[in-house]
Amino acid sequence: MIVGQQKDFDEIKKMISGYNRILVLGCQTCVAISFAGGMREVEILASMIRMDRKMAGQDIEIVEDATLRQCDFEFLDSVENRVDNCDAVLSLACGVGVQALAERYPDKVILPGLNTTFMGLTEKMGVWSERCAGCGNCILDKTGGLCPIARCSKGLFNGPCGGSMDGKCEISPDVDCVWQLIIDRLTALNQLEKLEEIFPIKDWDVSGHGGTRKIVREDLTA
């Protein structure tokens, strides 16, 4: 899922200054799960904004709402009225959602309340970590199901660097060296020989370096 993190309140404040009717719109999917942009967070943020404005002696009208997914136009229809009636929409969806909103309502000011951080998973309640960099060319079959692109600080393909110490990455002792994990796992799977194969130079074309990516499935298109 996509993991997001709410922007600093000061930044949000600045962003919305001048707008007196705001729709705070959450997204009940990925970012809700990462406790950044679900209905719960919408309520909290809305309350803070109201209080902030009140202390500044300014009026503000806030509408709180959330869509099931902001990244699908269909879900955005349901909030049409609300969008129409506000000066700006503060979206708590990921960047995709924000842009979908902007596309669906081209005349509206759409503001991002989150920084979209990574694709990852919930390690445990309250802890999320990155797992996939969306490179477009998956090699997990060769690395025991652990991705060196997303999880090696240096993005190395052929084993750890010299900074790997006691299984930890040299950038921080809190970060596991993914290559250590890969080796451990392949050892356990008795597939260590897979590492004897040298990775060829990776094709980064599919990773976005070749421009905005698009996928078309002819069989599904109308």
Partner: protein
């Protein structure tokens, strides 16, 4: 045939009476609960905190009070006494006198205006006379029933005719001076005496003259937040904080007038010392004691903690005198240490740890009814029927049976509920469960473990008409009790077990599965399903049952100390039992016998007391003496823990001339053998400061009780295990036979070491709890259960991750589901749900929000 009556009379509204009432009421019986005072709760209500958790006593018990007050199957009669009881089991006729309260409970709103205006002040008994209260008063703010009461004896309306101040003050017109004493006649099927205890009046120590010599109950009141000094630990004479306090143990216990141990004083004194030290870090707390009797679950650990972490000083010496120190309110204590050195020390305050006497009123009533009492006026019961009095249909529980603490009283109360329910057959309607699902509970119980405990639980359930599956790992019923000869009271265990096995095997509703083990279990209270494997075959058996009782018992330590296993004359306790039954010649030839206690117990790697070793050693020692009066018997002990009425055995053993020598953990006895293989025991005599060398024919080791394979069990049933490896109950004090998970109970040594009578009462208690589930028309759910709006749910799993009850599961469809039987309605999931899809039935988010919004 007479017709049995479906209601039960419970005499005494203390914690035991309340528990017995609740269990009976929950099983569908109608209960009359008779209480002498104006409120229920008894002595427990006066306590501040309870050991060993130092829990606020009120917090936990108040639930029980409220439950009891509001239960539709319980009729509480406060200010009432039983005048007479006629009839017999199944059909008793009880005459009750109810004294007027002069305040209408339904009208009184506790505004307190009446008391504010009342001109007359008297000593407050609830605060042990340390404070004053008005004549119209509420015993304590949380008293249940929560209504004022008039103390007629001191009320000016009655004494000086005509004072109507309170009546005029009351806005609700709740005061009614015309209320009259009422005679109430009740027809009940059985009766439970839960009359509790009275504290012994301190006989000496100048208690009446020295204000800073206080009783333990006074200490409880002083330390209580709702007590006379607002919870500030100050001494009565000058309201100053004491900087050193002495606790004197065995006041009114273990003496010629009360030659029994009151069981609870060691623990409560430690608790009080800990609390005192918490309220004043600089305070010196000293406990003067004879034997530290902390035998219950986790009690030893509590003691060790008090000694090592809380810096409480323990002095092994009985103190008989307290002298005033002239010019101060301080007190001087003179005591002798074991070496005979005499010391004098000054304390700011002295607490007398008072013992327990059976309730005087109850003794009188029981005497009139012809119930057999023992020489100390406790009700005489057998180890095998620990809650039955000498009169069929009349049962006893709590401190009127023998001195005991809250958790044991609660256990026994449930046991009494179980036993008495067999006498009162017809049931009344149960209150409607809050939410009715269509399912009925499966009318069957699964009992794991075929020892005495399991068999007793099984019979209790089967006798009430439920199917019982009794699963036993070995090839026969009986468990470790098969190795025992006699109880501490001297009853024959062997014939009891034989009888028990007969009953179990021939009971049409009991299905005994020998050589069997549980492989898998699933479900919830009222509807479990369990797979059982029989070791001899590959066959498995699936059982549906409404409740589970775990009674897998415990094991004993196979020690390597004291030459055990190397010399055949070094025995473990049950070998002694065996020799006693089978080898009288050996005994006749033996001149000297040594018992070593605490083998493997109360040591750093096993910091708990095995509870039964002292009594079993003494019982066997007495038997040996009986067969060979000339035999010299030495008992090497650390603390003689013959708690409660077992003290008798200790007295008797000393009378018979058995020699007791105390050893310390750092000076354990040494057992050696000489060239001829003869045994030699060397032990340091603390009093004389010299080594004593004994040449016994036999040495019996009282080895520790150790937990069985509870880890597996815990995993299988998802149950908590404590630090020592025994199963951990939901609450040490107030839920002694339950787990947090409903529908699954335990009994016996799987929970902690205990003697046979306590195991049996626990077995009955577990059965009583089980019946409260089985007897329901429908599987009941909790009153407040969270619910999920699946339309909103995004299956983020947050709820499943945080639910403390484990009630939230995500089904195969990726949708969360709340098991209503498990959910206890805490609302944590509702507040954490990122998409706000969860709400609490009676307590939804909007309600709180509305309240939070209502500020301007």
């Amino acid at each position: 045939m007479f017709s049995k009556v479906g209601s039960v009379l419970v005499i005494g509204g203390g914690i035991a009476g309340i528990q017995a009432s609740l269990d009976l009421a929950d099983s569908g019986y109608f209960v009359y609960l008779i209480e002498k005072a104006s409120f229920i709760g008894g002595k427990t209500a006066q306590l501040d905190k309870t050991y060993p958790l130092n829990d606020c006593s009120f917090c936990i018990r108040s639930d029980k009070h409220m439950e009891c007050i509001s239960h539709t199957n319980i009729k509480i009669l406060t200010l009432s006494e039983v005048k007479d009881i006629k009839g017999s089991s199944g059909d008793f006729e009880a005459t009750i006198i109810q004294h007027p309260r002069y305040v209408d409970i339904d009208k009184c709103t506790n505004c307190g205006l009446c008391a504010e205006r009342c001109p007359e002040e008297v000593n407050d008994e609830f605060n042990e006379g340390l404070g004053k209260r008005k004549v119209i008063y509420l015993e304590f703010p949380e008293a249940a029933p929560n209504s004022y009461v008039i103390d007629r004896k001191n009320c000016l309306h009655f004494t000086e005719a005509g004072c109507n101040i309170c009546k005029e003050a009351c806005m609700e017109k709740a005061i009614d001076f015309d209320q009259k004493e009422q005679n109430i006649s009740l027809n009940v099927g059985s009766i439970i005496f839960a009359a509790g205890f009275d504290s012994i009046i301190p006989p000496y120590y100048d208690y009446d003259k020295l204000p800073n010599v206080i009783t333990s109950m006074e200490f409880e009141r002083i330390h209580s937040l709702n007590g006379p000094y607002g919870g500030h630990l100050v001494r009565p004479s000058d309201r100053k904080e004491p900087s050193n306090i002495a606790w004197l143990q065995c006041i009114g216990s273990r003496d010629i007038y009360h030659n029994y141990c009151s069981s609870v004083c060691c623990m409560y004194a430690i608790k009080q010392a800990i609390l005192a030290r918490r309220s004043n870090k600089m305070l010196n707390a000293t406990i003067f004691f004879m034997d530290m009797r902390v035998c219950g679950k986790d009690h030893e650990r509590y003691y060790n903690h008090a000694k090592n972490e809380d810096n409480i000083r323990f002095v092994r010496s009985k103190v008989h005198n307290v002298f005033p120190v002239s010019g101060t309110d301080d007190l001087l204590i003179r005591y002798a240490d074991e070496q005979g050195n005499i010391y004098e020390e000054i304390f700011n305050m002295v607490v007398l740890s008072l013992g327990l006497e059976p309730s005087h009123d109850a003794v009188r009533l029981a005497g009139n009814l012809g119930i057999t009492l023992d020489k100390n006026n406790f009700v005489e019961t057998s180890s095998f029927t620990p809650v039955n009095t000498s009169i069929p249909g009349i049962y006893v529980c709590g401190a009127f049976n023998a001195p005991k603490d809250i958790s044991e009283s609660i256990t026994e109360a449930s046991a009494a509920a179980c036993a008495s329910s067999l006498n009162a057959v017809s049931k009344v309607a149960l209150p409607e469960p809050f939410e009715v699902t269509e399912q009925k509970p499966v009318p069957a119980g699964l009992i794991i473990g075929g020892g005495v405990t399991g068999m007793v639980s099984g019979l209790c359930l089967a006798d009430q008409g439920y199917k019982v599956y009794l699963v036993e790992k070995t090839n026969k019923l009986g468990g470790h009790a098969l190795k025992l000869r006699k109880t501490f009271k001297g009853e024959d265990v062997k014939s009891y077990i034989k009888e028990l096995i007969d009953k179990v095997e021939n009971h049409p509703l009991i299905d005994v599965c020998l050589n069997s083990e549980v492989k898998h279990t699933d479900g919830y209270a009222g509807n479990f399903s369990t797979r059982i494997a029989i070791s001899s075959s590959t066959e498995t058996k699936n059982i549906k049952h409404g409740v589970t009782i775990i009674s897998t018992g415990a094991d004993f330590l196979r020690t390597s100390e004291y030459l055990y296993g190397k010399n055949s004359r070094v025995l473990i306790w049950f070998h002694t039992d065996k020799i006693l039954s089978e080898e009288p010649n050996t005994i006749e030839k033996a001149n000297t016998w040594v018992f070593i206690l605490c083998v493997g117990s109360r040591e750093p790697e096993r910091p708990y007391c095995s509870k039964i070793c002292c009594s079993s050693a003494l019982r066997n020692a007495m038997e040996l003496k009986k067969l060979n009066p000339d035999m010299e018997i030495y008992v090497l002990y650390r603390d003689m823990r013959t708690y409660g009425l077992i003290e008798d055995l200790y007295t008797e053993a000393r009378d018979k001339g058995i020699v007791f020598i105390r050893y310390k953990l750092d000076g354990k006895p040494e057992v050696e053998e000489d060239q001829d293989g003869k045994l030699m025991v060397r032990v340091k005599d603390n009093l004389l400061g010299e080594d004593l060398i004994i040449q016994p024919d036999f040495v019996t080791l009282q080895t520790a009780i150790v937990p069985g394979n509870n880890e597996n069990l815990a995993k299988l049933f998802k149950l908590p295990v404590d630090q020592d490896g025994f199963l951990k109950e939901a609450h040490k004090k107030f839920k002694p036979v339950e787990f947090t998970a409903k529908g699954i109970y335990f009994a016996g040594l799987v929970h902690s070491p205990k003697p046979i009578d306590e195991a049996i009462s626990q077995a009955q208690a577990a059965a009583a709890k089980a019946v409260t589930v089985l007897s329901r028309e429908y599987i009941s759910t909790n009153t407040e259960v969270a619910s999920i709006d699946l339309k909103l749910c995004v299956a983020c799993l947050t709820c499943a991750r945080i639910c403390p009850a484990g009630a939230l599961i995500i089904n195969g469809m990726g949708k969360p589901y709340i098991e209503p039987q498990k959910c206890f309605g805490c609302g944590i999931c509702a507040v954490e749900c990122p998409v706000k899809a969860i709400s609490l039935e009676h307590f939804n988010n909007d309600l709180i929000l509305t309240e939070c919004e209502a500020f301007l």
